[in-house]
Structure formats: C-alpha cells, structure tokens
Subunit: 153 residues, 2 copies
DNA sequence: GGCGATTAATTTGTGCACGATTTAAATAGT
DNA sequence: ACTATTTAAATCGTGCACAAATTAATCGCC
C-alpha cells in the first residue's frame, strides 16, 4: 500500500467523483478566469453577469433580473447599489408601482459593453472547446439545474 | 414586436446562453438542494465537501486538503475552525514541521458519515440522471476546469 | 371605502471565496 | 553558522449568497 492511499477509505467516494463538486469547482475556476479580465473594467464576475443581462434588456425590475439570474433581492440589492455608485446603472422607483425598482443603464454603463469583446474572446480561448460542444454540455447542465429547481415541493 | 423582447438587444447574448452562467447557476442550485439536507446534520455544503474529503483520507494538512478542493488556506482556515468548534475535527500542528496543521476526524466526525447515505440518495434522486450520464457530463466539466487552471501563465 | 393578505425591495446576520499581507518555521546558499 | 528565500497558515478587507425578518405599497375581498 503506497503513501498516497494509506489512509484512504474505499467505502467513501472521492469528492472528485461527485458531479456537484465538479460544478462547484468549475464555477470557482470561471470566477478566477474572469477576475483579472474584469478588474480592468471595474466589474466583479457577478456584476458582469448583471450587466450582460441589462445590456440585453434594459429597464427591468430587481425581481425580473433576479428571475433571469436565479438570485434574490437580498443578493442583488447591495450589488446593484455598488453598480449605481460606480456610475453604471440608475435605480429608480417605478411611479406606477412604488414597490418596484427599475434598473437602467447609464451612458457609461452602455459604453462598458464595448470593452467586453476582448473578455469574451479570452474566456472562449481559455475554455478551449468549440461552440457546438459547449452547447451540448450547457444543455445537460441546464437540465440538471432546472430539474433541481422544479422539485422544490 | 412583443412585450417580452421590446428592449432586447440582439447583439448581446443572453446570460442563459453562456456556459459560465450555466455552471454558476447550477452550482447555486446544488447548494440550495443540499442546504436543508445538511442542516439536519449541522453542516454547510462546503463543510460537507471537506468532511467527504476527510472521510476518504484522514490526517491531511490544510494545504493537501486545499489541493483536493481547489481552495486556499484563507478560505479553509475559518471553515476548519468552525468544524473544530462543532467537534467534528481536530487541528494540530505537525511536530515534524510546525508550519503544517494536521486535520483529524473526531469520533463524532467519523460517526457523521453514517448520516449521509440519505443525503446522497436525495441528491441523486433530485438530479435524476443515471450514473453513466453523470460521469460523461462530469468528465466534460472537469476538462474545462482543468483547462482553465492549467493556462494561468 | 376599508382592511387583511400579498408582493417588492431592503435590512440583518452568517458563512463562504479570494487577493493581499503577515507571521513563523524550514530550507538553501554561501 | 547565518542570512535570504521559500513555504504553510493565519489574518484582513471586500464582495457575494441566502435565510429570516422588516418596511412599505398594492391588491383582493367584502
């Protein structure tokens, strides 16, 4: 019995064999991959995802954004305040329903979009797989995520 | 042009089409799936991953554990202190190299393993895919993660 | 019209995750 | 032997992520 495995318990799976761990650690790897690229434009990775969502469709409420990103307002509120402080978005109460907060890009926030072509290119290169393969993996992961979300009861 | 897409910018991809977002949101879904199951035995999801690693092989250093989980000591130290306070592990300096901290399961920590069969069963049922499919997805995700880790320079 | 229930966002408290810095121990080079 | 370098943990500060509780506006129902 060699040094590496002398205390290994064969009845317990290694974390490396758990699907949840693969997803967990791959998520961290993406965060670390994005960090230096996004530092340059003053965003964190979750902030970048928010901006991508807003570049796609502006004028959403916090709730709508949360449904897109699967995040709730207690996560988004402080993050959105930081984006507001940075000058990338505005947060205004909806006059038609004062409970809602409407999110709008500022001119600076819209301009930021132009800086991200390089980010996407770097990430795509680092991931190093073709779009078709990526789509297949993604569909499988989305199905797992949606399956977990559905069976809440 | 319908209501849903009236402000959509076709030049920007939806977050839902980004592989990194699928992994990001699937990771959250797993955390939420595990939470109520692990609450019952007094662990968080990252703590559970640490325990799985230690059940597999006891007596590791913080560094070795970090290499397994892709986490560094600034994340692990406070988490391990909480596991120590909870009575599941001990943290002792290695007398042969006082820089290192050795991690050992307590009797209670070892006993906890018996409570996790039910957890694994629930997760497997929620994910709802066969082991073979899971392995294929996992291999693809691991390859992406390892590819990202490798190209640091 | 008024009031209980619902809804949207915020606040609060805990626990990761990680870059950067610090502390202390071991090792290397002369 | 002694200093410079390297290594392992811990510490510090910032920013998610989320449950639970709170606040305030709207809706539903009578």
């Amino acid at each position: 019995m060699n040094q590496m495995t002398q205390n290994a318990d064969p009845g317990i799976p290694d974390v490396s064999e758990m699907l949840c761990f693969s997803i967990y650690s791959a998520g961290h790897a993406f965060t670390q991959l994005y960090r230096p690229l996004l530092d340059a434009i003053g965003l964190t990775y979750p902030q970048y995802l928010v901006m991508v969502a807003l570049w796609r469709r502006d004028g959403r409420t916090v709730k709508e954004l949360g449904e897109t990103l699967f995040l709730d307002s207690s996560t988004l509120t402080p993050l959105l305040k930081r984006l507001e402080t940075a000058g990338f978005i505005t947060r205004t109460r909806n006059p038609r329903d004062e409970r809602q907060v409407l999110l709008h890009l500022t001119e600076e926030g819209r301009r930021l979009k132009e800086s991200t072509a390089e980010v996407s290119r770097c990430v795509q290169e680092a991931v190093g797989i073709d779009a078709d393969t990526a789509n297949k993996i993604q569909a499988a992961i989305d199905a797992i995520r949606d399956g977990i979300h559905k069976r809440k009861p």
